[in-house]
Symmetry: D2
Subunit: 486 residues, 4 copies
């Protein structure tokens, strides 16, 4: 899946591509799944889908747009009959989003219905697809997730859980997925555990979700994280835990802590909000600044800014105000006023900034285009000095594990030194968190270079899972693949 | 495909399920395909689709609704790039129509793209589907046509035309189809030739269409009919004709002459309009009536009524006026005025009917519900006598070859004698054309009972192609098949 | 109201602009009004509206599109509470139709609610509008009908019926209207009676409608026509007939007989179908042709063609087949195939036409553009000779009384002699009905040139009602009037 | 205008009803107006409209929904031709919003076009409406603003500015409006100056806007506030300032400081953000709490919470996380999970709250329903104590000057003492800011009870402008007013 960013005001962020949810054995299964997906909406806003099973038949609703706009009419929820369901949020892609790519995907196998929702990215999807096509499989979507479906359908094993193990054994990359058959709800994380997946309990019903905030919203209790390489199989008789894949050292995505996860989620036993405050404190220690104010770039920079302010003793102020009513489709009206872009989302609070030395805290720099505009806006509002502090190391490499990143040449930090970046975005000083500082903030004593504890490929270029399709990208025969407008 | 009727005012007609069109080597391929489908709109009004190929990529547009409402915006046609295209009209089904069932269907095979549009019905589709699912094929639609796609995808032969021959060799039932690969446009009729398919020529470009009226609209010349069992393969180098299937005696659908085909089409070398006039003349000879007027039930009964009037010398009059502005969704507003239903489409022309003995000519009687209302309306308008004459034999059996028919028990003629039917619909006399009269009208000397020249199963119950799925219908395991609202 | 034609295939016809309906004292008032408007759909297809009154409050539904597409959902009808209602059909205009122009129009007067639906055109609407604006009236639509509303609102008389009489006494032009207050349903025709309006009875409930076909559909009985210059006031206590305007000699629109009215309507005591057959017979007598077939241009030319065939003894044949599935928005796909336009609606039945001398019967010629294409199509289908016979005199002048006509310079007959027209449309002979022939067909002995019995201004240029706005059209100050897209 | 709240998660807030904007003499007038309205979106989210004038004609676009969703397509902005424009945001009301109520309203007066956009509420609108209807005026909307239009239209004065002065001289209540004629852009505030209106300058073009944040977004400079009772008339020749109304002591709405205005706006020469921080500091002084954390109810409580934290020395923490992806239509899926409502918008950050004594800061309490849920959520997350501090005095009275408030009996503070409220919402302590504390925060030494410096009727019940319609509300004859669904 090659994804690019579509929202004109978010184009300087990395974006998580998906969130998943599943619940087994609750009379309100579809409604609770809708609530869970709503809480996971930050992981994907393009489209959402839910598939339920009522003991006889599967029911599906998949819609372009927000959960809150599509899954709240009673008629929609009532069509999703049954006491078990899985759901999926999908991130916004370039061009017209296509409904057939919206998950959960479903297949009627010879042995019955099978449906899957996937967070992550399969790095050998194209290679597997070509193999399957030669066997006679017909692909209906351009989603890497469909590969899993065909591998299951064509597996020679007898039982559906074994077929799924067989299928996942062939895929490389990152997957945290939920799947459902007529009898079972399955949750599984890849052996590296790159993407998160947690197990919860709601009055005896088992729940699976990408983050704990989706448990909070339905009032479920966190039981534990699904472990890297673990598959849990939930039936009417309870949960069974399998470890079907060869063991690997886990490499959880450290950027989940920096930006992707919601601050009120508990990830790897730690509060994301507390990690981000600690990141801010590390930053203040590593790269202090003589300043009058600490100002976050809202909202993602706020916890780190609070941490920076506390550690440095410099007051925290809302120097930038966010407009919450962006709308779905705001385009800068005409070329001649294009420079106003960033003001559609943010406005400088000049009463606070005027004449002040400002520490501006943001979570990361991707292309740098928005940073340039925000710094200019802060200066126009009268700031005397702008010291930018970034709550992560320089982002120098793209992610291939389910995150929407520009190609390497578009990443500012891959093209410039920190000094050049400071000049480019016109700040008086610029500093990034060190990689060891980041590891300290997440509770390590530092990065173990021989066996890094996290996936930090976007900062280091060390990719823990093979990139088969990326390596083969020059050799592939041109597909005749269908273009369809709807 | 089990289809049922959806339009509240057409519920006493049989309906053709599809029309197909293809063109190779014309710079206006998509626009001409849209025109051809428009001319074939009487064969299916639910949805339409076009797939084109531009030498590099396939382009697809599929829409619910009329060709004239969806395929006329320049932007739509311009998206369908390339000098070759195929298209399909689909008949309206019960319930929400689902886009994934709209043809042409497309698959990216290992050897390249493949797309198909099909008129007819495969009578062993469910049996083949179960076999393919056991092999690992995943079905995305409930269309019987998808079976062909999977048979092609999984064929072990080397070339795509051979794969298609392999696939079609396994299907039973009726098919007149057009298919397109990166290099070829293919047209094929089943060995019985149940549904029509003609070959045309437009300034050197080859054209395929269900009926000649689709050639007329683009100014193409009729070359000939595709023969039963014939496959034509059109490339840049010309046309090749294959006869890959075991020879059978052709059994063209006689109901195409009675009702399905447009009166301005030439079918089997004969004008449909002239056949219908001859049917009316046969009726006048077989079952004359002492009357003052011949009145058609518009518009399908009109040619037969003209033929009846000419043969009998009784004046032809428009005793029933049709409202052309029915809209797409007219529902009878409330129960208390439900009996007005038929008046939404038709009104009696009382100035003509008052005090007169009327011969009312209709093409067929299916359920009889509309006939009852029309006769009542004609009587209310003051007709002294109503003599109903039907331009076909009694419809006693459902069609399984691509026509939307009620089950046998709903067919009035399967439940009642002609005398009882006359009483039921409250006419002074009722007569149907004899089966031999029908064969005479189409140019035979009569029906050959040992080797009938046509498929007339709806009148005789003699089905020329096996009905495997129908025979197995009790044994099939319940599918868990997905229900989706969009 | 300046209207122009919008449908690409109807651009060679004149079009009636409106139909009206009203009913008082029936529990199904709104549903019956929807049915009545459906039967009057030929008088206007752009938009429709219904206003009902439930004894306490008025309810309104106005929608762009067909009655059958908008007024058949139970929810819509149920919102239109009450036992009395009025309704209106509006003809399609150029550009985006605007909901605020859709009738019935409504005003909350000081004395209570007032709503009106109007068929016709007020020829001094602009002059009245300027006078009212100087008084302080604010117009919300560009509809001439709103003028009536403001004249009623600002009338100094005491009772609403007197206010309406006061208002209508100031307007010139044509109006057949229905109006409703909290207590009354009012129907009124202008003193010349240019547009039709009939009174019906449905089980004791009074009904008003533009044509009798709207009575037929609800099973109502025709009581009588509203007389020119008559106002009927319907209350719970019955009907009162007023004659509030100075008497004039009636001048009913003769084109209602030629084309506008539905053939199954009774107009001025005569069947429209019979009049049209008599027109065909007159044509055959006045302008016979040596030919093999009489072919109507469907559907409007069909009754006259039947009359021509009967009178001449030449067989009637369907030599042109109409496509009933035009869709709402068919645009000729690209310039290079623009000449196919007419084929989207009609196809020549070449089996009938080949080698034959054809009498082609149409109701009228407006611009002549469609005639050229139809004749060409008939010739291309092999006709040996084409003799065109028009069921009305040459249309040389625009209508200002509620009909959508091109300006005079666009009317073919105002620019050319009959001989030149014959050459232009490439027929072997061309003949129009004489004006006296037309008067004979409607039951007169001929036209009385001193006191014509009908409004025939489109044929003669003699306008019976003043054209104040048209005469002043050069003097009017440019309005700043608002343009709005929705 | 009686408004009620529609968004299920905002139902415990007061809501400003409108924002206005105008610009004269800029080639990008419509695009800049769209940007200005976007910056004012917090003042109204139901609908927005823009009217421009191109020297010859007015152009209008009015749409239901956000500015960002409707006014950003280039086609929309390009239709709004001309170098001057006015615009309006409207707050969301109960039931289907109706386009004819969306401002700017427009009228074609005898002297030319006139358009107006209004923030505020006319408290004698119904009385004026009855008077105008007796004169013959026809109202098309239920908006109080239309009254101004009719008063202008019927004014006997000669020039349009004099007509507007005449009209506004008759209205009571609050108005800050922008109006436009063919030659002039007009801005005006009522004599009390209840609602804000500022004058800006963009490279020589004059700009009017409700708040300075709308100047910031287009890069305009704040010139000054329009004074209470002032009318500015902007033409090609510059600005003229009039004072046409009898002088009154100004009474600006103090709640604009508390909640309505954006924190980055400058109101009455003061930063709203700074006022809110001072409010928090006052609260900390007036009603300190022994606590571990200060937590805002986001986002409106945040500046006051920062002020409270700074003044008290208690750390500021994000103890409640807001979900930014609510969607437009989220409904609580089913009754059985209705209690989850508040979690759709907010989630407690339990890692921060667990075991802590929390000061919860919110801007106001209206009905109290949301406060109950938020406190419960904070307690469920483990807070040891909850001390609620409200950044305004108890809201005991409804607003009649352009704010959407529940009736008095629904306001929690009008029904309960502070002690009872504390028990009702289950907090360990509850304190409101005193009215004098509020006046101190806005820069006064306290409230002058004899001549209050602000409108504070919602806290004190002292209404500075007459409430004619409210006083007459029992006497009004029932209107027959039309109900329309679209």
């Amino acid at each position: 899946m090659t994804h690019r960013l579509s929202h004109p005001f978010d184009d300087d962020k990395l974006h998580e591509e998906c969130g998943v949810f599943g619940i087994f054995g609750h009379p309100q299964a579809a409604a609770l799944t809708a609530l869970g997906l709503h809480a996971l909406q930050h992981r994907g806003q393009e489209a959402a889908g839910i598939v339920s099973f009522d003991g006889r038949q599967f029911w599906s609703e998949r819609h372009i747009g927000l959960v809150g706009d599509n899954f709240t009419k009673p008629a929609v929820i009532e069509r999703l009959k049954g006491n078990r369901a899985i759901g999926h949020n999908r991130y916004s892609t370039t061009g017209a989003p296509v409904l057939r790519n919206v998950q959960p995907l479903f297949a009627e196998l010879a042995g019955g219905g099978f449906t899957v929702a996937h967070n992550g990215n399969i790095t050998n999807a194209r290679a597997l697809q070509r193999m399957l096509q030669r066997r006679g499989s017909i692909f209906q979507s351009t989603s890497d997730t469909e590969t899993i479906l065909h591998l299951v359908a064509t597996s020679q094993r007898n039982h559906v859980v074994d077929k799924l193990i067989d299928a996942l054994g062939q895929v490389e990359g990152a997957f945290s997925l939920v799947a459902m058959t007529e009898k079972k709800l399955v949750g599984c994380r890849d052996p590296l555990g790159i993407r998160p997946l947690v197990l919860g309990d709601l009055d005896g019903s088992n729940v699976l979700a990408s983050e704990t905030c989706a448990l909070d919203i339905i009032g479920a209790r966190l039981v534990r994280e699904i472990e890297p390489g673990e598959m849990v199989v939930i039936t009417e008789h309870g949960i069974e835990s399998l470890k079907p894949f060869p063991g690997k050292r886990p490499r959880f995505c450290v950027f989940e802590h920096v930006y992707f996860a919601r601050p009120d989620s508990i990830v790897e036993g730690t509060s994301v909000y507390e990690v981000r405050k600690r990141i801010g404190a590390e930053l203040a220690r590593e790269s202090p600044a003589a300043a009058d104010l600490v100002v976050p770039v809202p909202d993602s920079g706020t916890p780190a800014a609070i941490g920076f302010a506390e550690a440095s003793g410099i007051p925290f102020e809302l120097g930038i105000i966010r407009n919450h009513y962006i709308g779905r489709t705001f385009i800068e009206p005409t070329d001649s006023i294009r420079h106003m872009g960033v003001k559609l989302k943010h406005n400088a609070n000049s009463a606070v900034l005027k004449g002040k030395r400002v520490v501006l805290v943001d979570d990361s720099i991707v292309r740098g285009t928005t940073s340039v505009k925000i710094v200019q806006m802060v200066r126009d509002a009268g700031a005397a000095e702008v010291h930018m502090r970034i709550a992560s190391p320089p982002t120098t490499n793209p992610c291939f594990y389910g995150v929407d990143t520009p190609e390497k040449s578009k990443l500012l930090a891959s093209r410039m030194s920190v000094a050049d970046m400071a000049e480019f975005i016109r700040v008086d000083s610029l500093a990034f968190l060190t990689i060891d500082g980041l590891y300290r903030a997440v509770g390590e004593t530092g990065r173990n270079p021989l066996a890094p504890q996290y996936c930090d490929a976007c900062f280091t270029g060390e990719y823990p899972a093979r990139l088969t399709d990326h390596e083969n990208r020059g050799e592939v025969r041109h597909l005749t693949i269908l273009a369809e407008s709807a």
